[in-house]
Symmetry: C2
Subunit: 250 residues, 2 copies
């Protein structure tokens, strides 16, 4: 029998967030963190905490969420990953699991994140990926949105794009990329930045869509940023179109 | 107001079959045909029958099912398609709708069909397309399956691959292509033929997988065909991996 040891693991996790109340554990509700902690705790017989790089909202998906957890086990990395996946529901998958340094912390050590928001506007109703996109009734103007995205990129105080009015910490973030693409009806917004405030990606997307619909101009964006007022920004795009793609570490 | 007229329409339909009891209408059960007939009948105020190219089983999906229906309406093709899609549930979509000749019949005029069966064997548990594939616990040998598929291709009496023991009509069919491919864990079986018997694609797939697992040899296939005995063939692969890709007409 292998020796039992206690290590800090780095986990990469993919999930369909449709039926979950978000990442963070909540009593009596299905959450991704809750499922992971319950599976790992049962598997190892030791109460285990799983620390995510961030908290995704209810209904938001992830292809590459990263988490860390101190796990006590005699299993190899490969076997541990297999066993966790065996007991996790079909809509959550650990795609990578490795022993990390003791000091690795999925949230504090994260230096960047990539999110993708997927919309669909087109003749055909998408069937197979319908739960991973937001269907638009109007066709947004791509050029206008790309122009507005330039104003939204950079180092700014994004208070206008934060749904938490009681945010006490700094609301300054760097968003170094907002890439907007259209392909066979799918309109994707890919965001990369140092970090994102509560609902920020969804509010940025809602604001960009309003620019695309002609409800506001690209040139109105600098004043919106300066205002630091959530009420002046666009709507919060629905959760189901959002996916956390990856988290960067040094 | 446009003139009301009665025409025979050709419809192409895409659906996620997960929650349906198959194509064919059944009292008190959700079926694809049932949904389409109910939506079109309500929309036009005229009881409408929708004739499919074939009947997919419960849980089977389609990207390109074809159907025809005599519809009485004053709507243009474009508007009719939009309205049908508006009232259909999210998991059924009419991707094309055109007036066809009076004599067009989706079932009788079909000259070929393409089905794809998707399996997955690999390290990572697929999350986003989990409902459209069959996950394997063992890795099948691709070369052996390709060899066996050669024996299964051609014009044969496929009685061994038909789940209906009371089939009175001919069980001779031509399957001119069984294409087996593997890519990043996904193993797909693409079948093209003049027509397929009940459960035939799923039984062919189950039989090919048993060859891949080493439970039977490619060389045992000719005797299996000759036996004309369902009990000697492989298991019926689960419905969720199967998708009707397209239907051919002259």
């Amino acid at each position: 029998m292998s020796k039992i040891s206690k290590n800090n693991y780095k986990l990469t996790i993919s999930y369909d967030g449709s039926r979950y109340y978000g990442w963070e554990h909540q009593p009596d509700k299905d959450t991704i963190q809750g499922k992971l902690e319950s599976v790992i705790s049962k598997l190892t017989g030791t109460e285990t905490e799983v620390i995510g790089a961030g908290r995704t909202d209810a209904g938001v998906h992830a292809k590459g969420m990263v988490a860390n957890a101190v796990i006590t086990t005699d299993m190899s990395e490969q076997l541990l990953k297999e066993q966790i996946n065996r007991y996790l529901p079909d809509d959550i998958s650990v795609t990578d699991l490795k022993i990390a340094g003791e000091r690795f912390h999925a949230r504090y050590k994260a230096v960047g994140k990539t999110y993708r928001y997927t919309c669909y506007y087109g003749e055909n109703k998408p069937v197979f990926d319908r739960k991973y996109l937001y269907r638009l009734d109007l066709e947004p103007d791509l050029e206008k949105m790309i122009k507005a995205a330039e104003y939204l990129t950079g180092e700014h105080d994004y208070a206008s794009f934060c749904s938490n009015p009681k945010m006490k910490k700094s609301t300054v973030r760097i968003v170094d990329k907002i890439d907007i693409k259209k392909k066979s009806g799918y309109i994707t917004f890919t965001y990369h930045g140092t970090g994102f405030l509560q609902h920020m990606v969804r509010i940025l997307t809602g604001t960009l869509l309003e620019v695309g619909y002609g409800k506001r101009t690209p040139e109105s964006i600098p004043a919106l940023i300066d205002a630091k007022d959530r009420k002046l920004a666009g709507f919060t795009a629905p959760a189901q179109g959002l996916c956390l793609i990856s988290v960067d570490y040094n």
